[in-house]
Symmetry: C2
Subunit: 237 residues, 2 copies
């Protein structure tokens, strides 16, 4: 049976619903999204397995999720390093950056050197609103991410992938298949092409909204903010 | 050795610091505070031990923390009921209320009936900014909370207690000693009089801010948003 997924168009509409009829603020949603991502990274490899995490952030909300995740990862005992070459203009991103600077988390401009030092990477470059071509500096970064042996966890989408159609047919990202993916709110159609460990995050959806978009929500365990999914989109047992 | 605590005055100053130099928004802090509370409630008794949770919310930020906790508790599988007799004016409280109503979480006006049905209570009436006299309807509510055999978890302070001087010498609250207390950011001086299970929540403090207020932060485990403290204020092993 095919996994129930959320198209790019519906993901945007659902996000809008959450912030209008849902009553959520972007601050709240980003906090919960980033928290989910941090829990998936921990599940993949705890700080004992390697503390150094390179978090690559894009200019939009996906990058914001990465900034939040980095803060939680620091509190779990990791040593994050941030690569954020095109800081977004939203004042929220500015505040999330301040929170990291107050923890003395370094921001690097040398991606290649940081990657060499990393035990894990978080790819928070592009999310469900991505389409079209990847531009510099991100095309070179994605090239490196697809060639590295360091485990990469992508936030919502492997960056450069088309939300509906998966990896690009050529160029950067065409052979990118990250170690893990954290789908936020619901898996997108691109998960059909994804072959790594798949987590779902965003434990705040109401049954009404899930129903409106034809989603089936799996059961989370305990107080977890993530649940691991199998290739059928159901909870992995 | 006495526990390092945070006076009412310093708690207010620290909160102000978090939202200015700290870069946090109230939305974010309340989300993380409420999440901590929900994890403490779960630790006390999981939904298998009883699903029905009465969340009593005051008009201020302590009440907001309760509203957030109620949402997370619903997602964990509890059946929360909210008693919120004096809804705060802040638009954030309105949105948190909307989030609960979208989950069809009932708001009751009959506290006594709801208490009779409850497996656990969350006391989110007053927090670190409380001082002076408790007025109706909360004085009657606190009277009931001090007499009930249902486990009560208080958020930041047992409501009616003076932050520095503990329980009032007479009247409602004078013999109130809740089952559990979730101190947010740091324990307050009132914890000297508290005899139940003590959790610390708010895993977002920077070492600089902790140092500024002379606080010693215990180690949290894994991805936990709470840590249980012993009577010495150190992590309970």
């Amino acid at each position: 049976m095919a996994m129930k997924t959320l198209s790019a168009k519906n993901a945007a509409a659902l996000d809008k619903d959450l912030m209008s009829i849902g009553g959520f603020s972007l601050d709240q949603l980003m906090e919960l999204a980033g928290l989910s991502v941090s829990q998936a990274v921990y599940r993949l490899k705890s700080p004992i397995g390697g503390r150094r995490i390179l978090v690559v952030c894009g200019p939009g909300n996906n990058g914001g999720d990465g900034l939040v995740a980095a803060r939680h990862l620091w509190h779990y005992g990791y040593k994050p390093v941030i690569y954020y070459p095109k800081p977004g203009k939203n004042e929220l991103y500015g505040r999330l950056t301040t929170q990291l600077k107050n923890l003395k988390i370094p921001f690097t401009t040398d991606f290649a050197a940081a990657l060499k030092e990393a035990d894990q990477v978080v790819d928070a470059i592009f999310g469900f609103s991505f389409s079209g071509e990847v531009r510099e500096p991100f095309s070179a970064i994605i090239e490196e991410l697809q060639n590295t042996t360091v485990p990469v966890t992508s936030v919502d989408a492997p960056s450069s992938w088309n939300i509906e159609e998966g990896p690009p047919s050529s160029g950067p990202g065409s052979s990118f298949n990250p170690t893990a993916l954290v789908s936020l709110t619901a898996p997108k159609p691109l998960t059909k092409w994804f072959r790594g460990r798949h987590f779902l995050g965003g434990r705040f959806l109401s049954p009404d909204i899930a129903h409106k978009y034809g989603l089936e929500l799996p059961d989370y365990d305990g107080v977890d903010q993530i649940v691991e999914l199998g290739s059928d989109g159901k909870k992995k047992l």
